[in-house]
Subunit: 209 residues, 2 copies
């Protein structure tokens, strides 16, 4: 799938959502882990809500399935402890994160992408704060030395809205049903639990390719 | 939760089902992994079907959710390769396994439990054969030097049927929604992916207890 298979570093596509709790540890871990494997990360923000709706669910499965949800809150706290990541159970779940997704879709491939996404995730899953308002996002962007007003203005443009919808449609077309999801070519890996497997797979493809 | 906390080895409860594909690698791995951690395994066979029905599903989520099911067949093949376990996608899924569960519930705590469960799992997920008929189960039991006819007769008794129903009701009451599930006291771990975490948790309780 890569343009120049003999020269390019192997790529893992990272499909994620700011409202998704298991996307949080992946956002925090992926670049460092990918670097250890010599793998490049292609960040693919998308909207989980429309995907869940097309699959017949009007909310997160963790909300719809009470037992699974109750378990998940135990599990994610343990997982974050395992990775040494701070964790606070958000008072609203899942938080709507369309606005930061519209900023992130402008940032994919930019040097600030990882830092921006990590800050949004921390806002949600460490500081338990709203992630869908211009103010906190402007504060993050400004902290990162970025033109907050311009990025927020573009986030409201029809072009950027359409790009996020198209990327979400691509996720759906490729069989994505949750987040995080990783692709190495057509090989799909679902869940933060499979991040290291996806990176190892990508690294092996690079050697063989 | 253990009766004699200072003397007993820490215990992990292992809740599993013969029709459950992710229970297969756990059945194959758990005793060896538990031994490395100094943990004792309490085998807890139960029926997933009634649990799924009580949660509003008339079949496995892997059948009901086409996208998740398609992914799962990729994932379990990769997982088995990772663990060095042979794997064949069963032509019928999920296979009914009530009869072997009724034998397994007699075997919990017996020295033949692991070997019997592994043989049934291999019948389903390696040899792609029916696991709910007396003949193949009798062959396994006889191979293991066990009184096949007596165990199969007891499997049909009201007492054993009731024990399996009660164990399933206990699973439901404790919030089990899938298999495999592990408990260390009240701490719940879901999925073959969490086997090692559950054992580490049990081992740590043992040291602290």
């Amino acid at each position: 799938m890569s343009e120049s298979p003999c020269l390019a570093a192997p790529v893992v596509e990272f499909w994620f959502e700011f409202g998704s709790n298991y996307s949080y540890p992946s956002v925090m871990r992926i670049e460092a882990a990918a670097a250890r494997h010599g793998v490049t990360v292609a960040w693919r923000p998308f909207m989980l809500g429309p995907i869940f709706r097309e699959l017949g669910m009007d909310n997160s499965p963790f909300v719809l399935q009470k037992e699974k949800g109750a378990y998940m809150w135990q599990d994610i706290a343990r997982e974050c402890r395992k990775y040494g990541l701070p964790w606070t159970r958000p008072s609203h779940f899942p938080r709507l994160g369309v606005l930061p997704l519209r900023i992130a879709i402008q940032g994919a491939g930019m040097p600030w992408m990882e830092a921006f996404c990590q800050r949004v995730m921390q806002l949600n899953f460490v500081h338990d704060q709203d992630i869908n308002s211009p103010e906190p996002l402007a504060a993050i962007l400004t902290d990162l030395g970025l033109p907050a007003a311009a990025l927020l203005a573009r986030a409201g443009s029809e072009e950027v809205k359409a790009r996020l919808r198209e990327q979400t449609a691509e996720a759906r077309a490729r069989g994505v049903f949750g987040a995080p999801t990783f692709f190495v070519g057509e090989e799909m890996f679902w869940g933060n639990d499979r991040l290291d497997d996806a990176l190892a797979w990508a690294a092996a493809q690079g050697v063989g390719g």
